[in-house]
Amino acid sequence: MSHSVELHQVGMTFGQTRAVGDVSFTVEGGEFFSILGPSGCGKTTILRMIAGFLTPSEGQIVIGGRDMAGLGPDQRPTAMIFQSLALFPLMTVWENIAFGLEARGVSKAERRKRADELLKLIALEGFGERMPGELSGGQRQRVAIARALAVEPQVLLLDEPLSALDLKLRQHMRAELRALQKRTGVTFIYITHDQSEALAMSDRIAVMSAGVLQQVGAPRELYDNPATSFVASFVGETNALAGKVTSLASGIATVETSLGAMHGKAGPGVAAGQAARLYVRPEALVVSAKGGDNRLDATVERIDFEGAFALAHGRLDDGSELVASISSTKLSDAPSIGARASFAFDRRHAVVLADG
């Protein structure tokens, strides 16, 4: 079992700027853990603190039960994959992979053997003598992973390593990274601003905003039960209806909006009388539904065909927009553009969260 990583009230201040404040979470050994947030939210700062490139202003980082205070990046059981990959362009692929072993004084024959094993692991056998510049983006990506794995880290830290790849390759590498993580059993901490990447790969995700940890949970949990309005709107697409909580009963909150009373699951800390928003996903909205208590009448403005589904944009009577997704197979039943239609949703598929 590889090492767990614990953060206890970690904070980081650069000059006057509070980059990260009071972040605590635990990554289990062997877990694929993502830190998700928009750029500038402090996720890279957290990763660099775990790696040992930055010393937290406060708090404690514990890896495998050991406090990491005072240990440099070379003394920690972590290895980092940089956003730019940072392969050494003047060394061959195998020298790149074996660089960590070279630094540890391993003999050349042994290094070469280990590099060949790793090249096999990343399916690049026979590429050892090439230079990194001669490889494709995806191959370089894999070499960077092999180089990090060569030092047998307990924890692999990945700083948006797929961001430079094109979409198709990125999707392919997602699956490959996931498989590699399962095979090696190494704890992965993965930084990304791409929520679909995080949802597809991770065992659990920490969502960050403006240096503050918003929520930690499994992908489904974040998606279905966001704890804050930031998580609700950042993770996946959503529609928000503003209003005021009028009543709260057995986990269901009623929100009085300008379009009438709506019901949804009450999020954490929601109380009657609060200003709140009701969030409902496009796929939870049923267009042209009859009956039901959560119903919104809108004019269909346009329908964007996306392939597997289409997005119907409706204009509500208060002027705000509502987006519903319609499966492509059901598209023939969709209302025509310019027509009035009702968008309905089940109260179990909507979440009510306090504003703020």
């Binding site: 070379d74 980092m80 630094a103």
Partner: protein, 293 residues
Amino acid sequence: MAELYRRFGGGLATIFLALVLLWIAGMVLAPNVMMIDYALRPNLPPAQIGGPNDVYSLDNVLYLANEAVHRSIFFKTIWASAFVAFATFVVCYPLAYWLAQHATPGQTAVALIALTIPFWVNEVLRTLAWYILLAFRGPLNALLLSIGLIDEPVRWYGNGGVLAGMIYAYILFMLFPIYNAVESLEKAQIEAARDLGASTWRIHWRVVMPHAKAGIATGCVFTFMLAAGSYVAPALLGAPGSRWFTQIIYNWFFEGGDWNRGAAYALVLLVLCLAVVLVTLKLARVNLTDVAK
């Protein structure tokens, strides 16, 4: 050439070309051809110039080969210049690395201004400043005596003085090429090497220096050539034991009155310097155009 004409049109391009040719012919070819001509002729009284004795020969070069003192000064100049280049590199590399990778923009500006301002002063005056600093009863000896590091004044003039004066004079020629080269190194590569457990020494040897190789070679070549051709520093800061080959050449021209032998000596120095430079660049696998950049 075609590109030049396409961009600037016939008239302007022809003027450019003519200027370049004039420069090459007047500033490069003519002096060197004249020097070669002088070097290969014997030193004759004016009446015999053009006479039967005025024939080309290698006598002047052979004179150097057979003159043990001059020969040893020649080789000493070569290796001492190489040592100056090395010592300047040792001084400049850490500074260049710090400036390029660690210094804040403010620190870089202050450091670069501090390094550049002395170069607004003429080289002779700067060397004179060292002449004063290193004098037997000068400030350096006074300082070292007052803090008790030495018991009696040291005679700095000589090898030590020449080395100090030259390192000081050529620091920018080494610093800027290395600075430029190191600055283009992505910081993540240094971090990656460190993260993989490499020592500081190994990071420099395996990552930073290979990346900065062209800059280092350029700086070394500049410094070597300047040092080998230097006259002021050895003349002012040297001692009889630290004579530089340029001083011998100077003596042939202005004291010995034998321009032909002086030209031959200068030619040998030029050829050997070129050889050293080309071999260095070949070893570092850097070509001359990289250096020119």
